[in-house]
Amino acid sequence: MRCGDFRETYAEDMALFETAFARRAMFAFLAAMMAVPWVASAFWLDVSLRVLIAVVAATGLNILTGFTGQISLGNAAFLAVGAYSTAYLAGHWNLPFPLVIPAAGLITALVGMIFGVPSLRLKGLYLAVATLAAHFVIEFVASHWDSVTGGVNGISIPAAKMGPLVLASDRQLYFLALPVAAGLLLFARNLFRTKVGKAFVAIRDQDISSEVMGVNVFRYKLLSFAVSSFYVGVAGSLLAYQARIISPENFPISVAIDQLGMIIIGGLGSLLGSVFGAVFITLLPELLRLVTGALSTTFPELTTLFASVKMGVFGLAIVLFLIFEPDGMAARWHHIKNYWKLYPFSY
């Protein structure tokens, strides 16, 4: 049984993991994740890498939408900004990835902040429409600024490298993406234990009263756009290193909607929820593909229907979650955990 409250200092009370057991479980989980490249096939390695990238992007979106309450449909575009920045910095300037990735994040943060300015006046759906405008502006720039983006034909990206070290394969990139994702999750977790993160949540709960409590609401909304877009930019950078060639087609609006789906299904305002949601939404089409593949011998027409089946299942999953678990998979996880914490005395 893991119950009772025996904390004696404030530092202990504010600790990252509630118990030593939880900390050890987390390290064990990370160790298991490190083992993935040795056991996974090329197919699953590609999927795992995309899951990690989605985790970073969904965490970024959750910081803005789940924690600060600012709905954004600009995520596909911000992902593109991170990816094109990577193409430019790594391609034109030949910079090593330890510089390229954070720089791509910072460039995206700046762009995100600019497109966050309408949040001064707009809320909810109106803000969503304003960020949708951001999407189309960035898409337009990506398809027409040929000298930097390669236009509609796209642009290729050299393999991630630093001196003699080259990360070209999915397996090699996995060892870069895993610590990046884990580090950024830890960073976000810490952020919400301190001043800035708490101010974000306060703005989501009550913006007028936040202002009266001395939170400069507009500044912190922009800051939330910046931090969120930094995460998305880093995800875009990893995506570019994996794809090696990108064009505007990699960043349709459906990517932004998928990511909103991730945080809704995973849990708005929950970091764990971003992870669950990213895993679920990334795996969903792959699992469907396996199922339709297996059934295609008996129902050959299924393969042609795949795209619509995928959309249907995605929509259905969101609707079911909104009805039965509006707080997302993370909330379900907490229920289960609390149940076992008190087992067998839970009722």
Binding site: A11, M14, L191, R193, K198, A202, D205, V212
Partner: protein, 256 residues
Amino acid sequence: MLDVRGIILHFRGVAALSDVSFQVKPRTIHAIIGPNGAGKTSLLNCISGVYRPQHGSISFDGHDISRLTPSARTKLGIARTFQNIALFKGMTVLDNLLIGRHVHQHTGVLGGGLYWGFGQREEIEHRELCEDIIDFLEIQHIRKKVVGTLAYGLQKRVELARALALAPRLLLLDEPMAGMNAEEKEDMARFVVETAEERGTTIVMIEHDMGVVMDLSNRVTVLNFGEKIADGTPEEVQRSKLVQEAYLGEPTDLSA
């Protein structure tokens, strides 16, 4: 300490405040009374910056604050509570208080995200200050509770706690005892007096309960239909004919 001059505030032609002036002296408890709709809350909103009056000026410690945003006024040391509680309902009591420490903290995105070192040290320091206030207002038992789940009277107390976490020099309270039972009122009255005496905080308080006003306040300003109709010590105000008429439509003894 606070100097309000010639405030005129109207909403689409409807006057909420017409030419209201009054002064608050340091380290006093200053009550604002008046019938419903008299403009008391509007006046507080003008002082804290939630409303912008069309005319008039407000100065705090000799500085004109009329043009400052609410958050900028808070940074100068003005805190407030709301008539219909405006806590962060989804957050714990402790987190609500920590938001009160916002203006006194310096951790940025990097310091917070990297945490160990500066961020943690600052968090603990401010946690201790919040715990002092939690002890002062006797809300230890609910510090980890989510505010939205608490009873009304407790929420009012948490809102006072959050305002005190700001360590303000001027505290604006909008009907802090409304809707409370006698015992809760007594506690709240004690907290208000102790805040003024022990922390040296100047308090402007809107209150309906005449008994409380007469007991606690050093000075009283009376509003009626957006106009100031009296201003003085509780005794002076009580004797004013205008006030008695405003309250009951005819001259009556308020102390009765």
